[in-house]
Amino acid sequence: MRLPTRPRLEVVAPVAEAWNRLPRVARWLATLALVAFLFVLPTLTIPIIDTPGSDFASVLFFPVGIYVLIALGLNVVVGEAGLLDLGYVAFFAIGGYAMGLLGTMVDLGPLLSGLPVIGGSALRLLGPDGTPFFVILPLGILASMVGGLILGTPTLRLRGDYLAIVTLGFGEIIRIIARNTDAIGGPRGINQIPHPPSVGGLKFGVIDPKPYYWLLLVIIIVVTLLVRNLQRSRVGRAWTAIREDEDAAELMGVPTFKYKLWAFAIGAGIGGSGGVLYASKVISITPDNFLFILSILFLSAVVLGGSGNMPGVVLGAVVVAYLPERFRGFAEYRVLVFGAVLVAMMVFRPQGLLPSRRRAAELRRGEGSPDDAVGGTAGPEAVTT
């Protein structure tokens, strides 16, 4: 017996339609206004959204901002390419440790001596104590992408659940190796990680989180534009094809493995960038900063918001990161409510808070087909391709 399909809360569709009807100029202005608001946000104290127990500007950087960046990265893997990754925290960790190691243990002097100091303080590469943050950042991203390639190459041939478990295992292996390897700090981790150099008068210190937040915002905007362009390109179309039906895509000549690997690497790189910035702000990291539960939280942000769809994913990240800080008084119930909300979302609104229309269609397609007599769609019977 099938329960009648529950009518969905149609808040999103009318808003989306109204948005699409606006002239281009109006949309640009609205977006710019939003961005301006986001930049000003940490200086404001808005009673309803202020976090009473913890410093609002700090919270905006971490966990809110960092979670948004991470969710955008994971969205490329899970939402775009449809690859279930339960070990995404590993890439966050690689970025963080890259910042830690290159900032404290490895001397980049010889590497940098050949580079010119580009005129103008805004582009100065070397920090006040000689720390080349803006060189470490791309290196950290690169390290994470390499990590993604290393993980992806042998495992992306697996399907669905098996891939999920393998990535889970990988995430834990990375963390335990970091814990057990004294050379990179062991359980003590890495301390006294340096800050980025001052940019245009903004000092990156320990007290004021705002410069970090603004730098993070810039990175988020860059990533958003990058992913959007990818979505609209051939790469994005390939991802959609893979996500909807990998076998059919392969038959139509889409090199699925290559594009899956790309998704993995790009997602990993975005996660790594978050790790680099995070490490330079908190100046001390340990393996316990990268526990498995974080992978779950990141995944929940993507799924809650509506995977595959960037505004949704951002909203999901904000919800997952912000609400526990806002309701610190209920600290005891945080995870309890969180778990219940996850289940409730899946039962009542699996397409996420802000679903993309295409996703909603994909989900509806599942109804009425014989597969769902028992649950779920394609199984891992064909586990290797």
Binding site: A340, V343, M346, V374, T377, G379
Partner: protein
């Protein structure tokens, strides 16, 4: 640069051979029982029931309830002879009841609605994760287990009955190994011979045809969860026999290891759960001896990754849906 494997001692395979075998068997038996829950649900629904680890934890709480009902105190817990048999029986029934009930409720609330609407696999997984978090935190409430470790009376004497070439054989280890084996045989026979067991295998093999043949899918699914829950509950009790004491988050690590065992043996294969559990238990025991115990978890995860990459159907292959269970 100091060696990562500071405690690397390959000779330990021989010097700790029998102790590792006995201890590995005991641990592996526990993994096997919990692995059953994962493998049954996966075989029928293709779902990784993340929350099975919390069902196990709820089973350990059953031991707590049982011992307090029987008036067994922490100060003088050890039972013997008929008293021990009674205590074990009562606690086992309670633990299995807790586990079974929790599993059936879980299916009803967290998975059935998703089955109804044909939700994609990702949704099931998220719901499983959410359920797992919820159940663990629920039992962290002060009026349940609280956040601290809850001591449980040690009803079985852990003193050595005899030693064999350095291995200590104590009653608790014997009970765990024998108990787990008995449970697995019972389940195995049940799935092979009973009507409901045939239903399970039919649905695992081909759900649509099973429906056409008159199998009630809902009932089979409920029953599958019930079976898995009973086993996880029993595992909880046996865990308390071996390692007295429980905590709300005790399920997490144990659950992942048991899941690894299920995959190792062949997910969807009942005997695979037993084989996988034993093999993992032994590998952890020997691995800890050789590499040092800080690497034990890595061993488990590495095995998991390697198996999935090279032989994803596991040691015995996926076969709940085939003629042999």
């Amino acid at each position: 640069m100091p060696s990562i494997f500071a405690a690397f001692e390959p000779g330990a395979v021989l010097t700790s051979f029998w102790p590792s075998v006995i201890d590995g068997l005991a641990l592996g038996s526990l993994y096997a029982l919990v692995a059953l829950g994962y493998t049954l649900v996966y075989g029928v629904l293709r779902l990784i029931n993340f929350a099975n680890s919390e069902i196990f934890m709820i089973g350990t709480a059953g031991a707590l309830v049982g011992t307090s009902l029987l008036g067994i105190s922490l100060a003088d817990p050890t039972q013997a002879g008929l008293g021990l048999a009674l205590a074990l029986l009562v606690c086992l029934v309670i633990s299995m009841a807790f586990g079974g009930a929790a599993a059936v409720l879980l299916e009803l609330l967290a998975y059935r609605p998703l089955r109804r609407r044909g939700a994609p696999r990702l949704s099931f997984l998220i719901s499983a994760i959410g359920s797992s978090l919820f159940l663990a935190e629920l039992f962290a409430r002060p009026w349940l287990l609280g956040r601290d470790r809850k001591p449980v009376p040690e009803i079985v004497d852990h003193a050595a009955i005899f030693t064999f070439k350095g291995a200590i054989v104590s009653l608790d280890k014997v009970i765990v190994i024998v108990g787990a084996l008995v449970m697995m045989v019972v389940i195995d026979q049940f799935v092979r011979r009973s009507r409901l067991g045939r239903g399970i295998r039919a649905v695992a093999q081909d759900p649509e045809t099973a429906t056409l043949m008159g199998v009630n899918i809902d009932r089979v699914v409920t029953f599958t969860f019930l079976l898995g829950g009973l086993m996880a509950g029993a595992a909880g009790l046996l865990y308390e026999v071996r390692f007295p004491g429980t905590k709300f988050d005790i399920g997490f690590i144990f659950g992942i290891k048991s899941f690894t065992a299920a995959v190792l043996g062949g997910i969807g294969n009942l005997r695979g759960a037993l084989v996988g559990g034993i093999v993992l238990g032994l590998l952890e025991a020997f691995g800890g001896a050789v590499f040092g115990s800080e690497w034990i978890d890595v061993i488990g995860f590495t095995i998991l990754v390697v198996i999935l990459m090279f032989r994803p159907t596991g040691l015995l292959g996926e076969s709940l849906g085939k003629a042999r269970a």
